[in-house]
C-alpha cells in the first residue's frame, strides 16, 4: 500500500527534477559559443548557405520554441542528430552507454566490496589502529584526481607488472576474458577513488547505529558482538549507505569523462568530451541529459532499495 504511495511520490519528484534537468541541459548548451551551422558546413561555407542552414535547423527561432521542440522530440525518443558524427544522438548514446555502465557498475562494485567491510571494521574498532589505517587508506584514495589513479594504475599494473592491458575496450560478447581483463584497471582505479566516501559513510552510519538503543538492548539480551554488528547494526547502517552508493555510482559517470579518456574506453564519457570539444550541441545535450538521467534513476533505485531495506517505508509507517 504505502510502498506504492512512496514510489508514486518519488516519481512525482523525479518528474519535476527532470523538467529542471532538461531546462538546465538546454540552457547550458544554448549559450555555448560557436555557430552550429558553421560547424556543419565547415570553414568554407558562404554566408547564404550558413543562413539557409540556420533557418533549416530552426536556429533563429525564439529559444523557448526551440526548447519546447527539443522536449517534444525527446518525448518521442528523438534526441536530434549529431553534428559531428552525422548520426542520431540516441543511437550514438545507446551504443556507448552500456560500456560506461559496465565500467561504472564494476567500479561501484569494487568500491562497495572494499569499503563496506572496511567501514564496518573501522566503526567497530573506533579510534583504534584499524580505524586509523582504514581512514588513511580512504584518504589516499580521494587525495588524487581520478585520472591520476588511472595513470598510476596503468604504469604499475600494465607497464611495469604487465598484468593487464593498458586500456581499450572489447565487447564481453566477443571475448569475455579480454573484456574483463580490460575492465580491471579502469574499474579498479575508479573504485579505489570512490572507496573513501562509501567507507566514510558506512563508518559514521555504523557508529550512529551502534549507539542506538536497540543495540544496547541486543547486548542486554546477551547477543554476541558478531551478531550485533552483522545482524542488528549493519542492516540498519546500510540504509543511508545505499544513498551514498547510488550517488557514487552516478558520480562514477562523471569520473568516466576523464577516466575513459585515460583508458580510451569508448563510452559515454569520451563521447561527451568529443561533443564538448567539437561543440556538437545536440550531442552535448543528449549526453549530459543521459548522464543526469542516470543520476536520477540511480537515486530512484536507491530510494526503492531504501524502501526495501527499511520496513518502515516498505509497510508504511511514515504517515
Amino acid at each position: 500500500m504505502s510502498m506504492y504511495n512512496y514510489v508514486f511520490r518519488r516519481v512525482g519528484f523525479m518528474a519535476v527534477t527532470l523538467f529542471f534537468v532538461t531546462l538546465i541541459a538546454f540552457a547550458v548548451t544554448n549559450i555555448l559559443p560557436g555557430d552550429v551551422a558553421l560547424l556543419i558546413l565547415g570553414p568554407n561555407a558562404t554566408d547564404q548557405s550558413l543562413e539557409a542552414l540556420q533557418t533549416q535547423l530552426g536556429l533563429n527561432r525564439p529559444l523557448y520554441v526551440q526548447y519546447i521542440d527539443w522536449v517534444i522530440g525527446l518525448l518521442q525518443g528523438n534526441m536530434g542528430e549529431s553534428l559531428r558524427f552525422g548520426e542520431p544522438v540516441a543511437r550514438l548514446i545507446a551504443e556507448r552507454l552500456p560500456r560506461s555502465m559496465m565500467l561504472a557498475v564494476a567500479a561501484t562494485l569494487v568500491a562497495v566490496v572494499l569499503s563496506v567491510p572496511l567501514g564496518v571494521y573501522a566503526a567497530v574498532n573506533q579510534n583504534e589502529a584499524p580505524d586509523v589505517s582504514a581512514s588513511m587508506f580512504a584518504f589516499v584514495g580521494i587525495s588524487m584526481p581520478i585520472f591520476l589513479w588511472g595513470l598510476v594504475f596503468i604504469l604499475v599494473f600494465a607497464v611495469w607488472l604487465n598484468l593487464f592491458p593498458t586500456g581499450g575496450y572489447v565487447s564481453p560478447s566477443e571475448d569475455l576474458v579480454g573484456s574483463l581483463t580490460r575492465l580491471v584497471l579502469p574499474a579498479g582505479a575508479m573504485g579505489f577513488a570512490l572507496t573513501a566516501y562509501i567507507m566514510r559513510m558506512t563508518r559514521s552510519s555504523m557508529l550512529e547505529v551502534l549507539s542506538e538503543e536497540y543495540i544496547n538492548l541486543a547486548r542486554a539480551k546477551g547477543m554476541s558482538q558478531r551478531v550485533i554488528v552483522l545482524r542488528h547494526a549493519l542492516k540498519n547502517a546500510i540504509i543511508p549507505v545505499i544513498t551514498v552508493i547510488a550517488f557514487q555510482f552516478s558520480y562514477a559517470f562523471g569520473g568516466v569523462v576523464v577516466l575513459e579518456e585515460v583508458f580510451f574506453w569508448p563510452g559515454i564519457g569520451r563521447l561527451t568530451l568529443t561533443a564538448i570539444q567539437s561543440r556538437d550541441i545536440p550531442l552535448i545535450q543528449g549526453c549530459i541529459l543521459v548522464v543526469a538521467l542516470i543520476y536520477m534513476f540511480s537515486n530512484f533505485a536507491a530510494d526503492l532499495l531504501y524502501a526495501y531495506f527499511d520496513p518502515r517505508i516498505r509497510y508504511g509507517g511514515d504517515d
Binding site: 559559443p33 560547424l39 556543419i40 600494465a158 586500456g167 565487447s171 566477443e174 579518456e261 580510451f264
Partner: protein
C-alpha cells in the same frame, strides 16, 4: 571562396558522415610469404568523415588513401604520375588534359571503373560544395569521350589543377555513389576495403583481393588493418611498448629517444610533415602595426622554441615552401633573437613598454602549447605579454579562423608539397584558409601569376620574391618550424612506412613478419 585546398590545416576537425559497425574478429591466415596477418595500429587522431571529397582531416586521409585512388598520384620525388590512368597528355597550351584510364580496375563493390565513374566523381565536386570545388572555376568542360578516356578542358593555364587531381579531394568513386551528397560507406578501387568502424574507437580495413595493382612485390599483403583510436600520446606509447600494437603514429617528440632506445622497435621519421606557425591578426591592435610584429619576431628565439617543442626532430624556417623543394628561397633565414632590435621596433610602434595580447592555442597540440609557453616567456622579456588561452579545436575554428576574433595564435599546415597551397591558400586574401588579415598587393600579384606558370624555374623565382615580401613585411604568419611524422613499429612490421606527402599512410607494400 576561391581556390581549393590541398590538405586541411591540422589533423583534427572535419564534419562529415560516417557509418558504424562492429569490429571484426581477427583471423590470421597466411597464404604465402608476406601475405596475411592482422595489423594492430594504435592511431593518434580518430578517423573523421569518410567522404574523401569533403573531409579535410589527415586522420581520415590516413585510411582513405588506402581505399580510394586518384587518376594521378604523387611520387616520392613530388612528381605527379598517372595512376588510375595508364597515361596522360597535356596540350601545349596547358589547357587540355587527356587521361587514358586503366582497364580492368574494379571497385570494391565489384563493378568495373570506367570514365563514367571518373566523370561523375569530378562533376560531383564541380557542382557541389566540396573542398576542391573552387578549382573548377578554371575548368571549362569535363569529358568522357569513351569508356577509358577522360578529358579536362581548362579555361586558361592553371598549374595547380593537376596537383589537386593527385589528392583525395578528387578521388574516384563509383558513379552511383557520386550522386549522393554524403558517402557513408567508402567504396573505392584501392588496395584496402572498408570493413567497419566505430566512431572514435576503431576503424577496420581488409585486403582487396581483386586489387588491380596487386603483385608479389608491392602487395597488398596484410589481411586486416585494425586502427584503434588512442588519442593520448603517452597512453598510446605505453600500450605500444606493452606490445599491444604493431604500429603507432604520432609519437610525441619528447618520447623519440625512448622509442629509439626500446629493443625490437622500429622508429620511423618522415620529414617534413607539417609547418607550424605563429598567426598574428594584422587587422587589430597591436599586430596591425608592422613594428609590433617585428618586435615580437625579434623577441623570439626560434631555435629554442623548436627545440623545446620538438627535441631536435624539427627544423626552423622562414618560408612556407617545403624544405628541399625548389620553392625555398635560400637567402631568407628566420630572424635571430635580438632584444635591442625588438625594443627599437617597440619604440617605433610607440609601445616602448611593450604590449599585451591574448594568445589562443588549440589545446590538442601539446607541442604548440609548449612552444607557446616558451614564446610567451621570451616575449615577456621585452615587455610583450602574451596571455595563453587553450581552446578547443572547434573554438579555434569558429573564433580564430571564422570570426577572426583573435590577436595571436598558433596553428599548422600539413606538408605542402605543392607550392600553390603554401603561398596562396593561407596567405592570399582569396585563399580558402586566409585569416591573419595580412594583405600585400605585390605579394598577391606574385602568387596569382605563379599559378599560371608551368616552368619550375620561373615559378620558383616568383615564390622566392613572394617569400621576401612575407619576411620583410612580417606577414601575419610567423613561421616557426617544420616537423616530421614520427612512427613506431614492432620489428615484425616490414616495408616502408608512410606516403610521399609525409602526412598520410599507405599500407599496400607493408607486411607482417611474425
Amino acid at each position: 571562396t576561391g581556390g581549393g585546398a590541398d590538405d586541411g590545416t591540422t589533423e583534427d576537425s572535419g564534419s562529415s558522415g560516417g557509418s558504424d559497425g562492429t569490429e571484426s574478429t581477427d583471423t590470421t591466415t597466411a597464404s604465402g610469404g608476406k601475405q596475411g596477418g592482422t595489423l594492430q595500429w594504435g592511431g593518434a587522431v580518430p578517423v573523421q568523415g569518410l567522404d574523401p571529397h569533403i573531409d579535410t582531416s589527415a586522420a581520415s586521409k590516413r585510411v582513405l588513401e588506402n581505399i580510394y585512388e586518384e587518376v594521378v598520384a604523387l611520387q616520392d620525388d613530388y612528381s605527379i604520375q598517372p595512376h588510375l590512368a595508364e597515361s596522360m597528355e597535356e596540350s601545349d597550351d596547358n589547357t587540355l588534359l587527356t587521361f587514358n584510364l586503366r582497364e580492368g580496375v574494379t571497385f570494391h563493390n565489384g563493378t568495373e571503373m570506367t570514365s563514367e565513374d571518373v566523370l561523375a566523381s569530378y562533376e560531383r565536386v564541380q557542382n557541389g560544395d566540396y573542398l576542391a570545388t573552387g578549382f573548377f572555376d578554371h575548368v571549362e568542360e569535363l569529358r568522357a569521350p569513351d569508356d577509358y578516356t577522360f578529358e579536362v578542358q581548362l579555361t586558361e593555364p592553371f598549374a595547380p589543377f593537376l596537383a589537386k587531381m593527385a589528392t583525395a579531394e578528387l578521388s574516384v568513386m563509383p558513379a552511383e555513389n557520386a550522386e549522393k551528397d554524403m558517402v557513408e560507406e567508402p567504396i573505392g578501387t584501392g588496395p584496402y576495403k572498408f570493413e567497419s568502424r566505430e566512431i572514435e574507437t576503431s576503424f577496420t580495413m581488409t585486403r582487396n583481393e581483386d586489387y588491380w595493382g596487386a603483385s608479389d612485390e608491392d602487395g597488398p599483403f596484410i589481411d586486416t588493418i585494425v586502427k584503434s583510436e588512442v588519442p593520448d600520446p603517452s597512453v598510446r606509447l605505453q600500450s605500444f611498448l606493452a606490445d599491444e600494437y604493431d604500429f603507432i603514429n604520432g609519437i610525441a617528440p619528447k618520447d623519440v629517444s625512448r622509442v629509439e632506445q626500446a629493443p625490437d622497435v622500429r622508429f620511423e621519421k618522415q620529414f617534413p610533415k607539417s609547418l607550424v606557425y605563429l598567426g598574428l591578426n594584422c587587422d587589430v591592435a597591436p599586430f596591425d602595426d608592422k613594428d609590433a610584429r617585428l618586435a615580437l619576431d625579434y623577441a623570439i628565439d626560434k631555435e629554442k622554441v623548436a627545440e623545446a617543442a620538438l627535441y631536435g626532430t624539427g627544423q626552423t624556417t622562414a618560408t612556407p615552401a617545403t624544405p628541399g623543394s625548389p620553392w625555398v628561397n635560400p637567402d631568407i633565414e628566420p630572424r635571430p633573437r635580438d632584444l635591442d632590435k625588438a625594443q627599437e621596433h617597440l619604440d617605433a610602434a610607440g609601445m616602448s613598454d611593450g604590449y599585451t595580447a591574448t594568445f589562443k592555442i588549440p589545446q590538442s597540440y601539446p607541442t604548440q602549447v609548449q612552444a607557446a609557453e616558451v614564446i610567451a616567456a621570451d616575449a615577456a622579456e621585452v615587455g610583450i605579454n602574451l596571455e595563453i588561452q587553450q581552446i578547443t579545436w572547434s573554438t579555434w575554428l569558429s573564433d580564430v579562423y571564422s570570426n577572426r576574433d583573435f590577436q595571436a595564435t598558433t596553428s599548422s599546415y600539413l606538408a605542402l608539397w605543392y607550392p600553390d597551397v603554401s603561398f596562396y591558400k593561407f596567405l592570399h586574401p582569396n585563399g580558402a584558409f586566409f585569416f591573419t588579415n595580412w594583405v600585400n598587393e605585390d605579394y598577391n600579384a606574385l602568387v596569382e601569376e605563379a599559378r599560371t606558370i608551368y616552368d619550375e624555374q620561373e615559378r620558383a623565382e616568383l615564390y622566392h620574391q613572394a617569400t621576401e615580401i612575407l619576411h620583410e613585411d612580417r606577414a601575419g604568419h610567423l613561421f616557426l618550424w617544420w616537423q616530421p611524422s614520427l612512427y613506431g613499429a614492432g620489428s615484425q612490421y616490414k616495408g616502408d612506412i608512410g606516403a610521399p606527402d609525409g602526412s598520410t599512410l599507405q599500407f599496400a607494400d607493408n607486411w607482417l613478419d611474425r
